[in-house]
Amino acid sequence: MKRPRGVIIIGCLLLLQGLVLSAVVAAIILAFTRQLPPDLVISLEGISPLNWASVGANAVVAVLSLVGGVALLLARPWAWTLALLVQGYSLAVDLWGVYQGRTPYLEMVIPIVIIFYLNTRSVSRYFESLRHRTSVRPHTAPTALNTQNASAGPLVPGDNTLVPTLTPTRTQPDQQPVRHESAQRS
């Protein structure tokens, strides 16, 4: 199955997103460790713990975006889930911003388009085919098709002519007549 061209574009966009986020996070870290030139150092005293958590989350998303972008370009089957995760997170943050009264409308457009595109049947089938391809072990002969199983689901193992556990000569714990025990106890 041929890779849809949009997947390559999304891979590049994810890489770009990862690079930008990495740059922002790196700048904040450098500012925190005061390794930037003095005129670029910003005051960090007013930053709340919630904002620091946001920086941490952005760092994680930056890494995931980079990994996801590379994985999409290399056509890895799990890249689809990772891309959806990253874009879903971006949208959640944007929607939270809207709830708080901010207006990140333009930032919302790209994740929306990416999510709907990745969710189209042709793209999801493409990644599904990648999953199947990777799950087939090389040098393993395929098992014979069991037409009986195909119509009725998995077979329950069992001998159709003789069930050894039912042979009365064998004594097994689970052959004891339960009712009689019960009667003795009561």
């Binding site: 069992g158 042979t167 009712r179 106890r185």
Partner: protein, 613 residues
């Protein structure tokens, strides 16, 4: 269906194919004699405008008294009653001493299902308080009574089936009815319902082979309320277990539903009035799929509404009853044989075999007997035992080739008929075409249109007939190939008739582990408690807090059920939809204007292009 007299040969056939029933550890009730139950029961009558009346006290009832006291009174429901609810102390003592202690649920049913069914289960349990149910302690009371029956002396002790033999459509249907004193599925095994009295059945279908010998061909089991093809299995189904000619059946713990395979089943109860909701959801998904989004929609399910699943344990690790087993069968025939008449209650008692609890949904009321249903009509499995399991469209093996030849003959006749009609119609069509061509110059416009329409209609009819003949040709070829396979002794896929048969849950579900079980047991309660804490102490973050909480729950559930991919996809798409709605609301006017501009440009371009060309 008139009552057939049995012969000794019929009795021998019943004996020959007696099933072996495998029960669970912890089972309290085994198939007993319905006559013994009747003789120990009191007869009661319920009328809509009066309290239940005891007509015959326990121990005084027999066939004659039963018939005499069950008068036809409009709205009256007669029922038998043996057990009385045990006290709380008795219940506690019984549970400590009974074999119920041997039963372990394993991964409970709640661990195997999602969050919504767990919520609904809570309401299902609460609904029992409102809709009428079997009193608490009745199951224990019934178990104590049952043990007394079994310890007593008399010819009616032991494990019994109630046999019946019906000849229909070339088959001999050997019906084995089992009567249990109580169905304690809910109170003892976390199932759907409890009710006093329980009738279940296994049918073996036999037929004469080409040498005139009677051979088994199919078998069917009652499992809850189903009927149709999925109830039966062909005798040579590789999954069926048998000991000699005795089929092995696994019985649900407490429910006494019969299953072909050992395992744990998950029958589901539909939440009332949820079918429209499920249908609406399906329509939304269909629309979504039409937009090219998500996976394509599969065929509609037979049960559409929202369901609460329960587990029916049919592990077969307890007592086995049947030929060569620790407990063997005693027979009571439901039809007369030689000098011995059938029990009169078979044909004349239409009341309930146990307590009438007044449950609005009926699930906690005792069942009626093997012949009649609650409306007083005959059960399908009684008057049409072959059609009940959908077997009336399948000929017995020895008649299969002959039936196929008859079908081939029908197809040949139809083909000849079609060829004749096609030839006639073709001649007519050609004539008509010639006629129209000859008169074309003199036809008025209306006449020409009319003639053309006639021609088209006839052509269409001809095409349909030719298509049907082609179908008949294909069917004939397929029948010929099938006839060859049958003649070679290949009867085809033994499971081809199945649509959605009952199968045990997969081994993967059973491996969900202890942690998942604990989570499923506490999750709903903890969720409700945290929501209350949020409402009471943190109202300012109620909405985001609840959203995060649900997100965490969904994540844990998805981890346990290995559906993380689906969850991420679903959440991302939902967020994208919400964000789209937000954008549409926020930019409604500019979007509308942009749309109008686009339409305007489109019309402009089209018109100008037309003008230029």
């Amino acid at each position: 269906m008139t009552m057939q007299h049995l012969t000794n040969n019929d009795l021998a056939l019943l004996r020959r194919f007696e099933p072996i029933l495998c029960f669970n550890r912890g089972e309290q009730f085994y198939p007993m004699s319905a006559d013994l139950y009747l003789r120990q029961a009191g007869l009661w009558r319920h009328r809509p405008d009066a309290d239940p009346a005891l007509l015959v006290p326990p121990g005084k009832l027999d066939d004659a008294t039963l018939m005499e006291r069950c008068e036809e009174i409009a709205g009256a429901v007669y029922y038998l009653r043996v057990a009385h609810a045990a006290s709380l102390a008795e219940v506690r003592a019984f549970r400590h001493s009974s074999t119920l202690r041997d039963f372990h649920t394993g991964p409970g049913r709640l661990v195997r299902v999602g969050l919504l069914p767990r919520f609904l289960d809570l309401f299902f349990s609460l609904s029992l308080l409102l809709r009428g149910n079997t009193p608490g302690g009745l199951a224990v009371g019934a178990a104590q009574r049952y043990q007394i029956f079994e310890q007593g002396s008399g010819s009616h002790r032991g494990t019994w089936y109630h046999g019946r033999v019906v000849r229909q459509h070339g088959y001999i249907a050997l019906q084995y009815y089992f009567f249990y004193a109580f169905n304690d599925w809910r109170s003892s095994f976390h199932g759907v319902n409890d009710h006093e009295g329980d009738w279940e059945m296994v049918t073996v279908y036999a037929a004469r082979d080409k040498f005139g010998q009677i051979q088994p061909c199919w078998m069917a089991c009652t499992a809850h309320l189903g009927e149709g093809d999925d109830l039966r299995r062909r005798w040579d189904d590789p999954g069926l277990e048998r000991l000699g000619e005795h089929p092995i059946v696994y019985v649900g713990a407490g429910s006494h539903a019969n299953y072909f395979f050992r395992g744990e089943y998950m029958p589901a109860v539909e939440v009332p009035f949820t079918q429209p909701l499920a249908r609406a959801w399906r329509e939304i998904r269909r629309l979504w799929a039409r937009l090219g989004q998500g996976d394509s929609l599969g065929p509609p399910k037979t049960q559409e509404g929202i369901h609460i699943p329960f587990v029916d344990y049919a592990r077969g690790d307890g007592l086995r009853v049947g030929p060569g087993q620790p407990q063997t069968w005693q027979v009571c025939l439901l039809q007369p044989i030689a000098e011995s008449p059938a029990p009169t209650w078979v044909d004349n008692y239409r009341g309930l075999w146990g307590l009438r609890s007044g449950d609005l949904l009926g699930g906690e009321d005792a069942p009626t007997g093997p012949r009649f249903d609650r409306s007083g009509g005959e059960r399908k499995r009684w008057y049409d035992p072959v059609g009940w399991s959908g077997l009336d469209k399948t000929p017995p093996p020895a008649a299969a080739i002959e039936t196929l030849e008859q079908q081939q003959q029908r197809l040949r006749e139809r083909r000849e008929e079609l060829t004749h009609t096609i030839d006639d119609l073709t001649a007519q069509l050609m004539g008509m075409e010639m006629g129209v061509a000859a008169q074309r110059a003199t036809f008025s416009r209306d006449e020409a249109v009319k003639a053309q329409r006639q021609l088209e209609n006839m052509e269409k009819e001809l095409m349909q007939l030719k298509a049907e003949r082609a179908d008949v040709d294909v069917a004939e070829e397929q029948c010929a190939a099938y006839a060859e396979r049958l003649a070679a002794g290949d009867p085809g896929d033994p499971r081809a008739h199945l649509h959605a048969p009952d199968l045990p849950v997969s081994a993967a579900d059973l491996r969900l582990g202890r942690l998942a079980a604990i989570w499923s047991a506490v999750s709903i309660g903890v969720l409700l408690l945290i929501l209350v804490v949020l409402v009471q102490f943190f109202p300012s973050i109620l909405i985001p807090g609840a959203a995060v909480l649900l997100g965490v729950y969904a994540f844990i559930e998805a981890l346990f059920h290995r559906t993380l991919d689906g969850l991420i996809r679903g959440v991302a798409v939902a967020l994208a939809l919400v964000a789209t709605v937000v954008l549409v609301i926020q930019f409604a006017l500019p979007l509308l204007l942009a749309l109008v501009v686009l339409v305007g440009i489109f019309i402009l371009v089209e018109n100008v292009r037309e003008l230029i060309t």
